[in-house]
């Protein structure tokens, strides 16, 4: 199947390894990945902070870039939610068919075992958008449980927000950090080496605190775990 990758502006600039992992994973599963070089941003940041005129321009632009594709995959549940729920309100038209990565794997491709091997103790943080906007349910967990070598640990109070919240992290930095501290405490309590999620922006917040506290616990996008084969290849990079 021919799949267009919407990598998201955050990943393009700050977490390119997530995009590389998606490419590696989908190609390993036998699919062709294309990258529209004109893609930039879905407008989520502008929408959620109230800059709706600017968001409307970016939504229209997104439709122009991805409109002719049969399937667009993105490793961001919040971007997928923005395109699906917000773009129609901004453009007045049906949005391009965007799938969050785990939706695409489980619902469209029908796979849960993607042939990954990742011998680490891992907790999964169901980010708020993945839980309550894209409603991913147990798709990420089904994918994780099929990964060879992976030791899965339950994260207490997993469905509590990590406190990132986009602009909230800056406008209400103290409260954001307080909520992040709760999340960090729960992650640490499990003894996990890795916390994974399907939104790199939430992971930057959780991972940034884990790093500041020198916990040694890594924040890793789920795509990187699914791309890993235990062979020391690109999926294994931290």
């Amino acid at each position: 199947m021919r799949v267009a990758l919407f990598v998201s502006c955050v990943n393009d600039a700050l977490q390119p390894r997530t995009g590389r992992a998606v490419v590696r994973l989908l190609e390993r599963l036998g699919h062709e990945v294309v990258f529209e070089p004109a893609q930039t941003c879905c407008g989520q940041m502008h929408w959620t902070t109230g800059y709706h005129r600017e968001a409307a321009g970016l939504a229209a632009r997104f439709a122009g870039v991805f409109g002719r594709h049969e399937a667009v995959v993105t490793p961001s549940a919040s971007c997928a939610a923005t395109v699906r729920a917000v773009h129609p309100r901004l453009t007045g038209g049906a949005p391009p068919p965007v799938y969050e990565l785990t939706e695409f794997l489980v619902d469209v491709l029908g796979v849960t075992d993607v042939g990954a091997c990742y011998p680490r103790k891992v907790v999964y943080q169901p980010t708020c958008h993945s839980l309550r906007a894209t409603r991913l349910g147990d798709r990420p967990l089904r994918l994780l449980r099929a990964v060879r070598g992976l030791e899965f640990a339950e994260l207490p109070d997993a469905e509590e927000c990590c406190g990132f919240g986009g602009a909230f992290a800056l406008k209400n930095a103290d409260t954001s950090v307080a909520l992040g501290a709760d999340k960090v405490r729960h992650v640490r309590g499990t003894g996990a080496e890795v916390v994974c999620a399907v939104d790199d922006s939430c992971l930057a917040h959780i991972g940034g605190m884990l790093s500041r506290l020198r916990t040694g616990v890594r924040a890793v996008h789920l795509a990187q775990i699914l791309a890993a084969t235990g062979s020391g290849g690109e999926g294994e990079e931290w």
Binding site: D12, H52, G57, C128, R132, K171, A173, L179, M209
Partner: protein, 414 residues
């Protein structure tokens, strides 16, 4: 006593000083709600019915209020209209002074507390004792009672109160004069509409049913109060009704389920929100008070948009959506400033950059070049970075900046 005045401080500044660790009772109340709701197989249908009922009520509020007034008058009561809290206080004070001497009791509601009815009467020399507990005996010789209400039934003029201890019933039977204060949005069209609300509301608060549901209608000869006054408060509600998205906040029936699941509220408590706490306060207060002052303008941003509140709201208020809508109203009002705020300039610049592939790629290249110039780790941990970035690095490391963007890797790979 809650101050009826808007707080002068922004939410973030107030929250910094009130951050606390939530107690175990918070988790208990959430669990109780979840259990109470799980017992009803048709909970989601009830929520839809509640949403439909409240929306229908708000759509026809003008005629329903006329129906309500006519019904109250028919039942021997009097209706008073208060434009704002100050007018409500004046009306209550005037009525209470006319009621003559004797004790006075209050059956408080969030609304009577917010308009500070007790404070207004104290200024007029009337001490309003809280009903309940040791003050119960005071009811016996009370000449006046001031109460809140949960709902007002338009077709019958009936006032409905939910309460834990039955004090409303004493308020009804003992004083000569009963004054009830309620918001205009608390109307329900018909008595039978309570069927849905009597299920939604207690269960959202973690109970199967309210211990006491008390209803009173006007006055009855030789029984109960001889005078009944209903004070209906607008206080910004009519203005909120004119906003198609914002008015869904007026569906609120006051169950406080959104407070109990809100991660922000749990950590910062009542005070940073000002007059009405929690997610519902963050969407109602800016609409009732306007978004001009710094405190009200900061409230729509006092949320991570996690959506936990929308999932539990018994009348399906999409709180995150209203928050985003109100954020846009704040931003739109700022666009009219003669000098653009730094944030507006930044967001415009970001949109301009994202609006074109070549501008975007140049910005990406610049960012990775800058990242490469700085010594490893320094940028990531510097707590004194300019403007907004410093608020990130104050407590969080930045991700290690990659040496090339995803698209550069993709290009090189071809």
């Amino acid at each position: 006593m809650v101050t009826p005045l808007p707080l002068p401080v922004r939410f973030a500044d107030a929250a910094r000083t009130t951050l606390a660790v939530p107690g175990s009772e918070e988790a208990d109340s959430r669990r109780r709600r979840a259990e109470a709701v799980a017992e009803l197989p048709d909970w989601e249908e009830l929520r839809h019915a509640g949403e439909e009922l409240r929306d229908r009520t708000l759509r026809h509020l003008d005629t329903l209020l006329e129906t309500l007034e006519a019904a109250v008058v028919r039942a021997g009561g009097t209706v008073h209209w208060a434009r704002d809290a100050a007018e409500a206080r004046r009306i209550v004070t005037r009525l209470a002074s006319a009621a003559g001497g004797g004790g006075a009791v209050e059956l408080p509601s969030p609304l009577t507390r917010r308009i500070d009815a007790a404070g207004a009467l104290a200024a007029a020399g009337i001490t309003l004792h809280r009903a309940g507990g040791p003050a119960r005996e005071r009811l016996l010789d009370a000449a006046l009672a001031v109460s809140g209400a949960r709902f007002l039934v338009a077709e019958t003029g009936t006032v409905v109160a939910f309460e834990p201890d039955g004090d409303a019933r004493m308020c009804l039977t003992l004083p000569r004069t009963l004054i009830t204060v309620a918001g205009i949005e608390q109307v329900v069209p018909r008595l039978r509409d309570l069927e849905v609300l009597l299920q939604l509301l207690p269960r959202s608060a973690g109970e199967r049913m309210s211990p006491y549901v008390t209803m009173w209608t006007g006055v009855t000869p030789d029984d109960g109060p001889r005078e009944f006054h209903l004070v209906l408060l607008d206080d910004g509600r009519t203005a909120a009704l004119s906003d198609g998205t914002g008015r869904t906040a007026l569906r609120c029936v006051g169950c406080e389920a959104c407070l109990r699941v809100c991660p922000v509220y749990k950590r910062v408590g009542d005070d940073p929100y000002g007059e009405l706490p929690g997610p519902i306060g963050a969407i109602l207060t800016p609409q009732l008070r306007g978004i001009e002052a710094a405190h009200e303008a900061s409230l729509p941003f006092a949320s991570t948009l996690c959506g936990a509140c929308a999932d539990v709201c018994p009348v399906r208020i999409d709180i995150p959506d209203v928050l985003v809508h109100l954020r846009a109203r704040v931003v739109e009002s700022r666009r009219r400033h003669p000098v653009p705020t730094p944030e507006l300039a930044l967001m415009r610049a970001a949109a301009w950059t994202m609006g074109d592939r070549w501008r975007y790629e140049r910005a990406l290249a610049r960012a990775t070049r800058w990242g490469g110039l700085l010594p490893g780790g320094l940028l990531r941990r510097l707590p004194v970075l300019p403007l907004l970035l410093g608020r990130w690095t104050d407590a969080r490391d930045l991700p290690a900046l990659p040496d090339r963007s995803f698209r550069d890797w993709w290009k090189a790979r071809r």
